[in-house]
Structures are given as structure tokens and as C-alpha cells.
Amino acid sequence: MNFKQQRDNFRAKKISAVEAVEESLRKIKDDQLNIFINHFEQEALSNARHIDNNFDDFIAKPLSGVPIAHKDIFCTEGLPTTCGSKMLENFIPPYDSTVVKNCLDAGSIMVAKTNMDEFAMGSSNETSYFGAVSNPWNHDLVPGGSSGGAAACVSANLTTISTGTDTGGSIRQPAALCGITGLKPTYGLVSRWGMIAFCSSMDQAGPFSRDAFGCAALLDAMASYDEKDSTSTKRQDTNFEESLSKNFGSLKVGVIKNIQELDISEDVINAYETSKTVLSGLGHKLVEVDFSELSSGICSYYVIAPAECSSNLSRFDGVKYGYRSKGEKDIANLYMNTRSDGFGDEVKKRILIGTHVLSAGFYDAYYLQAQKVRRMIKLKFENFFKDVDLIFMPTTLDQAFEKNRKSDDPNRMYKEDLLTIPANLAGLPAISFPNGFKNNLPIAGQLIGKYFAEDLLLNTTNKIQEVTDWHKMTP
């Protein structure tokens, strides 16, 4: 069952919200993949009853009667929010994030919060304090990260929609590895209020669903101007679900020139070439673009993201909330031991890198240089978009990989984000969708659009999904 069927059933009163939630919770309790950090039976059922009792108020809402799982990075009032870290294992926020509140208002029912890489730092979901998540297609493989739990949740059909966040590919890469659709919106479309910050200038929340339709409906719920987030953008509301049926006509789509030079696996390239013919078949014109300079983005990203994270994570010091090391006699030791014990290795590594690149004497060589590269990439995209409406490229270099395989080699792991990072650096929207299948594992491609072109991205993906079946495959 996909999102649309589930919502239609609710709207047609074929299934109540309570029944939908009960079914979802049953599957969640049986989960063998370690997809969830917490689930909330009582709260979910009481919410579902409220929706059933006020059916008329909710029938027209974008997510009416549909169970949802939120990434455990979004603060939920009165319910634990761990961010995948020991540091926040017992942290209960006194407030809701805007995303969670928007989804509630849109008629969805939160049933659980999903596992993730610690503080969203990772590409395999293996840095979570609560253990790795298994890929629903093959339990020996990773689901991708950092929103690994959220992607696996939809892939394994435990819910039909879930939320994630994407700082360097954390929605698109796990969507790709789990065979579902995931969208990273334009920076500023979705409020960051209540979303625990990793790299504030790139963090952006977005939807997961099996297909573009589910993503469109969930984005309708998530997106809002929020005066509590200064980086959120005031703009005319677009109805993404409605825009799925719009006709944008024939588009110019940028495709990657000399893709063989990018260290991408043969299977992924084959799927890419097939998708190109699909795009042509839909009447779009393909234009080759030179992507080579954009690969410098990864170096820029791995300076800026740790720099911001080193500052954003300073608040976790054991003084006010969260983990605190026991029996400390002075403040320096309290800080040191709380942070040494409370953070995992990947987080500590990034804090150290970030601290270093911002230090006196290194700032210009690293941080400032990285910002220049970031600006260059932004300009490069602006130039691309003078000629094309969309850019199409693979989401990942390869398919899902084995647990522990790449964790020992940070450079290989960081390279995982090569194709996703440029959109984050530029703040552009990008959508990943399944576009192939090999070795019983999904393959994905992504479309990158101009600022606030989510409607076009969803529309184009939807058109592709009308003529292909990759998104319908389930593990």
C-alpha cells in the first residue's frame, strides 16, 4: 500500500485513523531492522481517535489519517528526542519542532521516531548510539544515512511517509539505497525550528515516501514560512500535490558529460543511461553539462559542516540537560568527560576538525577557502540553470554497501556524498527516486532544480513514475 491508497481509504472511511495506526504499530513492534529509537503507542492512538472523532475537520488535510514516523532529530514536546546520541538519550524537549507541529496539523499521526546517524553525521546509519539499521532489501547492508531509519521505515512499508533531514545527502542517499523517493527542499522552504542543528547553513528537512505523490503531500504539510527561523523564506505557498498534474511542457534537462570519469559503478551508469531515454521519451531535451568542477564541493563541505557542527554542538556540555558525567569536581572535567563519554567517535572527529579549521592561523586556509569554493559552486549552478531547467545525475556512486565495510575508511565514506553535496552547498532542491534494480538492490537517480522549483522536481519525477515501475518494487 502506498501513501495515496492509505489516505484514500481513510477519506472513504474504509479504514479509520486508529486502524491505520494500529496496523503500523503492529509492524513497528515486529521490526527486526532497528529502524526506530522510540515508538509512542498511547499518544498515537489518542491522536488517531481525535482525528476519527473530528473526521470532517481532517478529511481535506494533506496527510489526513496517515501514520508518520519522524526522524529523531525533530523535537517533540514531552516525548524523547535523542538525535541518535547517548548525549540526549533521556532528553525530553518542552516544545515541538515546526515540522512535527505542521505534520500534526496536516492530519498525520506520529507513531514512532526513527534511528539515525548520531547528530546526523554519517552516511550509513552506523554512527547511531542506538545501533546500526539494516537495509530492508538485504539485512547485511546499510540503509544509508543519516536518515537511514526514516528511509528503511518507508521502504519496509511500516509507514507510508516519514520525515528526514538532508545536510549533505542524508535524505537522498538513504532513499536511493532503500529504493524509495526522497526530496531535499530548497534551503529555507521548511522551518528548522526545533530541528537539532548539525550544519545550520545546509540542514534542510524533507519528505520520504514511496513515490513523488507521497513526497508532494508531505511537503505540502512540512513547508511553511516560520518567523521563528530567520533563514526560512517568506513566499507564496505552492500546492505541491496539485502541481503534480500541471503540464510544464518540454524541459531542457542537463545530463553529466563524461560520467565514466566520476568513479561511478557500472550498474549505476547503466540505470542512468536508461533514465535518460525515459526523459527523452517524455519529450524532454537532454543537454550535457560539465560536472567536473562540482566535485570539489566535497572538500568544501567537509570543512564547513564540521566547522558549524563544532559550534552547534557546544551546548551539549552536561550543565543544563542531557548526559552528564558523574562525580566531577570541577567544571573543566565536567565538560571534558561529559563530551568524551556522551559523543561517539564520528561526532568527536568532526568537532575536532571543525575546531581546527576555525582556529587562529587556520581559518583563512580552510574555512575561508571552503566558503570561496562554496560560492563558486553556487555560481556554477546559476550558470547551468541559464541553459537548463533541471539537472539529472545519479544519487550515489554505487548501491547499498555492507555494514562495517566502509566505516574504517573515512575518505571512502565521505566520498559517498560526492553527488549529493553540491545541491546542499548551493541550497538547491533535489529529489532522488529509484531508477534501476540490480543484484536485488535498488539504484537511484536525482533531479536538481532551481531555487524553489520543488513543484517542477515533483512533477517531473511523478511523470517518470507514471511510465516506470522501479518505485513500486518492495523488499
Binding site: C83, I196, C199, S201, K228, S230, V319, L358
Partner: protein, 478 residues
């Protein structure tokens, strides 16, 4: 560079001040929590001030406008764009682990103020958030934190090293205090910490081309201590250099009880604050329209007020200067003269009232004197109800009890005797009792006139209208 009158033992002090001013705004710099002093600990705290995970700052435009006002008042350049940086350091009363401040793009640059005819340049003034308060002496075995102050907007005003003596530093600080209180930028209350001062002090020989190594004295919280701390520091540095030592670049703390400065940390142990632009705040433009609207709504500056008082009240420069030294006195004056004689009011404010304030080390607001009552006092002098001498007694009573002027006069029977018939009777008696003196006066001893006046005053307990007494005495003795 050097001015000889400020040399101390042949050394030229060079001083720059960093003044932290808490801004008067409804809410904090980046959160909707109230900006107030003196509430119960941790009651003025929002999620944002607690630094909870996931919270985000939103700039308070009111604070931005206060910064613009200060820029306009000091003829400074005002930034076109508001950009904030993060200053990273760990401290328990800094919940986020960083302070949001302006390192590279201060809201105000290149200002100037005039202090006793000398121009002192302001390098920059920038907005930043205050930290919370750590208290280590409340309990024996633990420290506690009050976050009411966390996030309160500050304007840090950094002067150029243009100051050459401790007393000049105090005058500069008083000038800043005058500007911020005149424009309602801050209440400027140093004892409550809404104005705090760091002083950078170095010394050099007049012929030296470069400044000496400076020490920074932190957190001085009164005008008096600014002068003392700087003077102590100058002497300390002279002693070191004259013994062929070297002054270390360091941060020092002024201990007002021992009247000395002590080392806090030296340069090697200085923090690396790892500043970088705060990604949570998008650059905000300061438009010409915004600056214009701030300008239109801006209160009069001290100099403007002084000019106006000279022109429209016909006060002399000195009187206008004293009355306009602080806004409260100037406002008080204007209220008083709505119904009272201007020159007499000025004389009494500058003289007797100021003397009382100084004697009790109070400001007008703290005293029991209100403008309306004081105005009545002046009116009573003008209309001869009481003499100047009696007025002093009435003022004393007003100061002590806050009583109404008319009540004091009535209850103590202090009205001036201006009834010619009554005075004539008294004069008659006195002249009859002192026939010797009358004869002496009449035979040419003019000086005795004062004696008769004194006798009348004595008989009337000072309440006789002196002008009338003079007139009547002259008539009787002629």
C-alpha cells in the same frame, strides 16, 4: 601625539575604553523573553536563552534601532547590513557555548564624541548578547546560574586609544553615559551593571613612535573605580618600566577593596574564540528609510538641548550646561519653569537642590523632590510669600518628608510678613527700644541701617519681607 599636561613622571598614558551598555528594549536580543532587571532568578528565560537543542535566534529590531541611534548621535557610519558572528567559548552561564556578536561588521563605525573640547574617536560599536550570571558565593558547595541576563542586548562601544589620562577617561565615560541616557538607549545604571567598562591602558615616552604594551582591565563598574583602576595601572606600569622590566600583554581585574589591579590571564592563555559568521541569522539590510525613521523619532541630544535652553529660556552657557548635564535634571527644569520664573528656578536647581543631591549622593529620581512641588517653591519666592532664607528651610523639609510646599509654610507659619501696617508696628517698637542707635544713625552713622533690619528680622523670625522692611525703615528714619 603626547600632551605634556597629562604626563606622569615623564610617561604618557594611552587609554582606550570598551564600554558595554545594556540596551533598553522590551525583549532580549534574539528571544521573546522580557529584558528586565531585578526579577527572580531564571524567570525571564525563553527556550532560546536556555540554548535548548533546535532553537534559533531571531533578531530584535528594537535593539538594532538603539544601535542606529547611537551611531547617529556620534556622527558615525552605520552598517548597510547586519551580520552577526559567533564567538565560541565554554562557560556555564553561556548556554549555547557561543555568544552571538559582531566581529567583522559592527553596526556602528568611526564615530566621534567631544569631551571638554577634545575629540575622542569611537572605533566601533557592535551589538551582542549578554551572558547569564554565575554566582559562586550563594552556597558553600556549589555555584548557581541565573539566566535572566542571558541574551540581554548589549552595545559594546570601543573607543580609539585617544584618551590620555584617567580623568579624561572618566569624562569620556560620562559623555557616553549622557548620550545613552538622553536617547533612552540605556538606563546607564552602573551599579546594576547596565553600563560596564573595560580599560586598555599602556604608557609610552612622549618621543616614542609606537604605543607601549597594553593591559586590559576588565569589568569596572563605577566612574570612581575607572579613575582609580587606571591610575593604579599607570603607576604599576611605570614602576615596571623604570625597573627595566617589560609590561606583559594581559587581562587584569580591578579589586576596588584593595584598590589594585590583578592579573587574570596572560596572552599565551588567551582564548581562541574561533569566530565565524552565525549561519542562523541571514544578513539584514539597514535601509535609508529605517535610518530616517529612527532619526525622526530620536530625542534631543545634550548639545541640542543646551542650545535650546540658552535660546528659548535665555539661560547662560554655564547654567544651561549644568542643567543639561543629565536628562533628568533638564526635564525637571522644564517642568518647573512651566509655572515658575526661569532664572530663579535655574539658580535654585544649580545651587541648593544640587547641593542636597550631592550631599546625599542621590539623583533626582531617588529623591523626594518632584518638579511640581519644586515649582511651587519658586513661585512662593517670586510672589514674596516666603523669603529666600525661609525657602531654604522649606526645601530641607521637602527633601526630608516630601511634604507639599504650601503645607510646610502653613503648618510652620512661615509666610512672609508683607503687611505694611503689621511691619510698621514692629518697626515702631524696635525704634522706641533703641533710641540711642536711632540718634546715632540720624547723626550720620549709616552703617546702623543693617542693625535695624536685623532687629526686625529677629523679631519676625526672618519672615519679614526684606524689601518692604527696607522701604519702611528708610521712611521712618528719614
Amino acid at each position: 601625539m603626547a600632551q605634556n599636561d597629562t604626563l606622569i613622571k615623564g610617561w604618557q598614558p594611552v587609554i582606550g575604553l570598551e564600554v558595554h551598555v545594556q540596551l533598553m528594549t522590551n525583549t532580549k536580543l534574539f528571544s521573546p523573553a522580557k529584558n528586565q532587571f531585578g526579577e527572580d532568578a531564571n524567570t525571564l528565560v525563553d527556550l532560546i536563552d536556555l540554548g535548548l537543542p533546535g532553537v534559533l535566534p531571531v533578531l530584535n529590531e528594537g535593539a538594532m534601532k538603539q544601535g542606529i541611534k547611537f551611531g547617529l548621535a556620534t556622527n558615525a557610519k552605520i552598517a548597510e547590513t547586519m551580520i552577526f558572528d559567533r564567538k565560541n567559548y565554554f562557560y556555564p552561564d553561556l548556554p549555547k557555548g557561543y555568544q552571538i556578536t559582531q566581529l567583522h561588521y559592527p553596526i556602528v563605525r568611526d564615530g566621534v564624541v567631544e569631551v571638554n573640547g577634545k575629540k575622542i574617536r569611537i572605533h566601533q560599536a557592535h551589538l551582542e548578547e549578554d551572558a547569564g550570571k554565575s554566582m559562586h558565593d550563594k552556597y558553600d558547595d556549589k555555584s548557581v546560574i541565573d539566566l535572566n541576563r542571558s541574551g540581554v542586548p548589549l552595545l559594546e562601544i570601543v573607543s580609539e586609544p585617544d584618551i590620555r589620562s584617567a580623568s579624561e577617561a572618566v569624562n569620556y565615560l560620562k559623555k557616553i553615559h549622557q548620550i545613552i541616557t538622553y536617547l533612552d538607549i540605556s538606563d546607564g545604571n552602573m551599579s546594576q551593571g547596565s553600563m560596564r567598562c573595560d580599560a586598555n591602558v599602556s604608557i609610552m615616552k612622549p618621543e616614542d613612535k609606537e604605543f607601549g604594551t597594553r593591559a586590559e582591565i576588565k569589568n569596572i563598574n563605577s566612574f570612581k573605580f575607572v579613575e582609580k583602576a587606571i591610575n593604579f595601572e599607570i603607576k604599576r606600569q611605570i614602576k615596571i618600566l623604570e625597573a627595566n622590566g617589560t609590561v606583559e600583554q594581559e587581562t587584569r581585574l580591578y579589586d576596588s577593596i584593595k584598590d589594585e589591579t590583578r592579573s587574570m590571564r596572560t596572552k599565551e592563555f588567551a582564548n581562541d574564540y574561533r569566530y565565524f559568521p552565525c549561519p542562523d541569522l541571514v544578513p539584514t539590510n539597514i535601509t535609508e528609510e529605517l535610518i530616517e525613521s529612527v532619526k525622526e523619532n530620536m530625542d534631543e541630544l545634550p548639545e541640542e538641548k543646551q542650545d535650546r535652553f540658552m535660546n528659548s529660556y535665555n539661560l547662560n552657557e554655564y547654567d544651561a550646561g549644568v542643567i543639561c548635564a543629565d536628562k533628568e535634571t533638564a526635564n525637571f527644569f522644564e517642568k518647573v519653569v512651566e509655572n515658575a520664573d526661569v532664572q530663579l528656578a535655574a539658580k535654585w536647581i544649580i545651587g541648593d537642590l544640587n547641593a542636597l543631591l550631592n550631599k546625599h549622593d542621590m539623583d533626582l529620581q531617588e529623591s523626594k523632590i518632584d518638579a511640581e512641588n519644586f515649582s511651587e517653591l519658586i513661585q512662593k519666592i517670586t510672589d514674596n510669600t516666603i523669603s529666600g532664607k525661609i525657602a531654604k528651610e522649606v526645601l530641607e523639609e521637602m527633601w526630608n518628608t516630601g511634604a507639599k510646599v504650601s503645607e510646610v509654610i502653613d503648618s510652620k507659619g512661615m509666610q512672609q510678613i508683607s503687611d505694611a501696617g503689621e511691619l510698621e508696628n514692629i518697626i515702631e517698637i524696635i525704634l522706641n527700644e533703641n533710641t540711642d542707635q536711632v540718634n546715632a544713625y540720624k547723626s550720620g552713622k549709616d552703617k546702623l541701617f543693617g542693625f535695624f533690619v536685623g532687629q526686625v528680622m529677629k523679631a519676625t523670625q526672618g519672615k519679614a519681607n526684606p524689601g518692604l522692611v527696607n522701604e519702611l525703615l528708610k521712611k521712618k528714619l528719614s
